[in-house]
């Protein structure tokens, strides 16, 4: 099998240039590529466009890259948890494109599936529809939305093998599988990297063909945004 291992996050992101279009997996802080975000901070690349459902919090996730002004544009569905984000948005230092969550998921899926556009009912009659083509199917109006693709997709999985096959855990799956398919270069960081043959092919979520680089991440914090417990 093809060996896609790289040493660590620094090596994985080595050639991400300024102004790159990135996809970052995760929902809230769940299933985000913590190690790659750390490596981007260290590398100091600027002018990034980040396609990610959320923008992290002030001191974790994509919020860290916002703080260092490395992000030029966010393409997200919900960005509410970040004061620095709000400040940059209101002062026009940061560009933001808000997309309905299901449309975002499907645009990324379409990007990885070779489908340049599709029609969805989400956003019909709203400001999301402004300037977009609509068409009626079986008496209901739908909006045309186009695919999204990235220069680099940064995804986080639970387990992976050296040929790039991935398995996700819990709701940390979220946007990761689609983003893995939509990257020109897809970088996967995993909690446990195993030799080929160790993962059950029946249980693979993302086939290795979509993954170009893989490494075992370290020091996962997995911060929780809203800890709610039953006493």
């Amino acid at each position: 099998m093809i060996d896609k291992r790289v040493k660590d996050a620094d090596e994985a992101v080595r050639d991400i240039p300024d102004n790159a279009i990135l996809m970052l997996g995760g929902f809230g802080l769940c299933g985000i590529p913590e190690n790659c975000i750390g490596a981007l901070l260290k590398k100091g690349v600027k002018g990034l466009t980040c396609i990610s459902n959320n923008a992290g919090v002030d001191d974790f996730g994509i919020g860290l890259l916002l703080k260092t002004r490395q992000v030029k544009k966010m393409i997200s569905s919900y960005v509410g948890e970040n004061a620095e984000f709000e400040r940059q948005l209101l002062s026009a230092e940061l560009e933001v494109e808000l997309i309905p969550q299901g449309t975002l998921a499907e645009r990324v899926r379409a990007g990885g599936a070779g489908i340049p556009a599709f029609f969805t009912p989400a956003g019909v009659g709203t400001e999301v529809a402004e300037g977009k083509e609509t068409r009626s199917f079986d008496g209901k109006v739908y909006l045309m939305e186009s695919w999204l693709r990235s220069d680099f997709s940064l995804v986080k999985a639970w387990k992976g093998d050296t040929s790039g096959n991935l398995i996700f855990r819990g709701t940390a799956r979220n946007f990761n599988p689609m983003m893995a398919t939509a990257g020109t270069i897809t970088i996967a960081e995993v909690e446990e990297l195993v030799p080929v043959g160790q993962l059950n092919p029946n249980e693979i979520h993302t086939p290795g063909i979509f993954v170009h680089r893989i490494f075992q991440g370290k020091n996962y914090e997995k911060r929780i945004e809203q800890k709610t417990i039953t006493k």
């Binding site: 929902f27 809230g28 802080l29 769940c30 299933g31 459902n53 997200s76 569905s77 919900y78 960005v79 509410g80 948890e81 709000e86 948005l89 209101l90 808000l98 309905p100 969550q101 299901g102 449309t103 998921a105 499907e106 990324v108 899926r109 969805t120 009912p121 989400a122 956003g123 019909v124 009659g125 709203t126 400001e127 999301v128 639970w158 996700f168 855990r169 819990g170 709701t171 940390a172 799956r173 979220n174 946007f175 990761n176 599988p177 689609m178 979520h205 997995k222 911060r223 929780i224 945004e225 809203q226 800890k227 709610t228 417990i229 039953t230 006493k231």
Partner: protein
């Protein structure tokens, strides 16, 4: 007037055995606490889970397991996990039987506004536009009037729209109301101690009152 718990309890009565349900953030999330134990339903979380369970005990907290409000949760026996693309696939294709969500305004045509207030920080629509555009049945949990006393059940929404002609039923702190396309708001029930006159005064959109309007029964 009903409090938030009262609204949640009344909406719980709308839940039928065998339903797949998506609960929005806020009052809708509370509905889960008042669904009778004999009724079997499956709760969907749009980030990618069918079968939301109760909040975890301290020693069960798992950062890889959260709901759409980013709260830590557990899974019921028989749960299924999937990607957000598949999740919205089941939403758009009408597999989710009931969507319960909050609103800032609803129009007499069933239009809903709940994602953006001009002049305030815009956080985003999340999954709300996808949910309202596709759900078979939408129940809105809301306050009938603003803090200043202005009606939120309007002829036309004044805030940016989330979806057109989609709301079927409203449970407010004052009333249970159906949205009848081409007709307006049809008053079904009054909150305990609230008169028809009070509901009329609190409803800007066209209010249809057909007959006796019973008081809600809330345990």
């Amino acid at each position: 007037m009903l409090d938030k718990i009262g609204i949640a309890k009344r909406i719980a009565q709308e839940v039928k055995d065998g339903m797949y349900i998506n609960l929005g953030i806020g009052i809708p999330t509370l509905v889960a606490n008042y669904i009778p134990a004999k009724i079997n339903v499956v709760l969907q979380s749009e980030n990618g889970l069918l079968g939301i369970g109760p909040f975890p005990k301290e020693n069960e907290v798992d950062p890889d397991l959260i709901n759409a409000g980013k709260q830590t949760i557990t899974m019921m026996p028989g749960s299924a996990l999937f990607s957000s693309a598949e999740s919205f696939g089941m939403i758009r294709s009408g597999k989710v039987d009931l969507t319960i969500l909050g609103a800032m305004e609803v129009s007499e045509e069933g239009d809903i506004a709940n994602w953006k207030v001009p002049g305030k920080m815009v956080k985003g629509m999340g999954g709300a536009m996808d949910l309202v555009a596709s759900a078979k049945h939408i129940i809105v949990a809301m306050q009938h009037c603003s803090k200043e006393g202005a009606s939120k059940l309007l002829k036309k929404c004044t805030l940016p729209i989330t979806g057109l002609r989609c709301v079927k039923r409203i449970v407010s702190d004052m009333a249970v109301i159906d949205v009848v396309p081409g007709v307006g708001f049809k008053l079904l029930e009054r909150a305990p101690g609230i008169s028809i006159e009070q509901i009329k005064n609190a409803t800007e959109g066209k209010l249809l009152i057909e007959s006796e309007v019973p008081e809600m029964k809330i345990a």
